[in-house]
């Protein structure tokens, strides 16, 4: 077979291009998986916060008037401050454009707070119901 000038170079570029395509697919898959793992960890953290806050309010409700306890939650989720809402037996934790919800047995007045100023809070039960305020 007669080899034309430049044939090796063409093959080289073809194979190099193919390798790059494989590498790009590989890195794409890896970064997608990695991003899923991070998202899942953030959602887990959100659920943990929701579960903890649900537990604190349920305990305050059950223990009755005069109950007061300080608790803390993580400062940020995925590097952002977040908001916690408890309403209609659902604890909602929202950060950035994401949120998670957890069920709670707490059925009192709606509660809302965020971690913009502090991550230490006090849950208390007084004459007016259960409240969460900055600790």
């Amino acid at each position: 077979m007669r080899v034309k000038k430049g044939q090796t170079s063409m093959e080289f570029f073809l194979l190099f291009g193919l390798s790059m395509a494989i590498m790009a697919m590989l890195f794409g898959t890896i970064s997608q998986k990695q991003s899923n793992v991070f998202e899942r960890h953030n959602a887990d953290m959100g659920r943990e916060v929701a579960s903890n806050v649900g537990f604190q309010t349920e305990m305050a409700l059950v223990q009755g008037k005069g109950y007061s306890r300080t608790f803390f939650v993580p400062e940020t989720i995925a590097g952002d401050n977040y908001t916690v809402n408890i309403d209609n037996r659902i604890v909602y934790v929202g950060w950035n454009d994401n949120f998670v919800t957890e069920q709670t047995l707490y059925s009192g007045r709606p509660i809302q707070f965020n971690t913009n100023r502090s991550n230490v809070f006090r849950v208390l039960h007084n004459e007016s119901g259960v409240f969460i305020e900055d600790g």
């Binding site: 077979m1 044939q7 090796t8 093959e11 194979l15 059950v62 047995l105 059925s107």
Partner: protein, 171 residues
């Protein structure tokens, strides 16, 4: 051999080696992620089970007189004082359907057993076993979390020290 042929076969070999390395990397990586997932589920279940057990043995529940007729329980608790369980509340709990018990305990499946020296206690004439025992051969639990607490059962005649076992499980 034509020019370029060696190059192609070299390339094929290198692709094969590369694929083997990538596969060898991906398989353990995937299994680490899956194990992490499983661990995360177990961790959540353990936290929930410990909180539920804490509610059951340290609080009266809400409302506090939920064992009375006509009062609906929102949050179950068997205690009349911390770690002293009311036989009346336990008895009332048995009158709630398993479906509702699961709902107020917020668990997929559960089993509660109260024992003394390894023997199941009798409370108000009945064996103190509630829910579904995951050790029963008809169930195939995938994950089960056991939480035990030392308690006293307040029965009118004689308060008895006992072990309260709460099992949260999923199939």
């Amino acid at each position: 051999m034509d020019k370029g042929q060696a190059f192609i076969s070299d390339f094929a070999v290198s692709v094969a080696v590369f694929s083997a390395i990538v596969t060898a990397f991906f398989i353990p990586w995937n299994s680490i992620i899956e194990a992490d997932n499983r661990f995360s589920v177990e961790k959540d279940m353990r936290t929930e089970a410990e909180r539920t057990a804490a509610f059951l043995v340290t609080t009266e529940g809400y409302p506090s007189d939920w064992e009375r007729e006509g009062v609906n329980v929102t949050i179950p608790g068997f205690a009349q004082a911390e770690n002293i369980l009311s036989a009346e509340k336990i008895e009332e709990f048995t009158n709630i359907s398993y479906q509702n018990q699961r709902s107020i305990l917020r668990t997929q499946q559960f089993f509660i057993e109260i024992t003394r020296n390894g023997e199941t206690l009798t409370i108000n004439g009945e064996q103190a076993e509630y829910g579904k025992n995951p050790q029963n051969s008809s169930y195939t639990p995938e994950t089960s979390i056991v939480v035990t607490r030392q308690v006293i059962i307040d029965q009118t005649e004689s308060p008895k020290p006992a072990e309260f076992k709460y099992v949260s499980w999923r199939d």
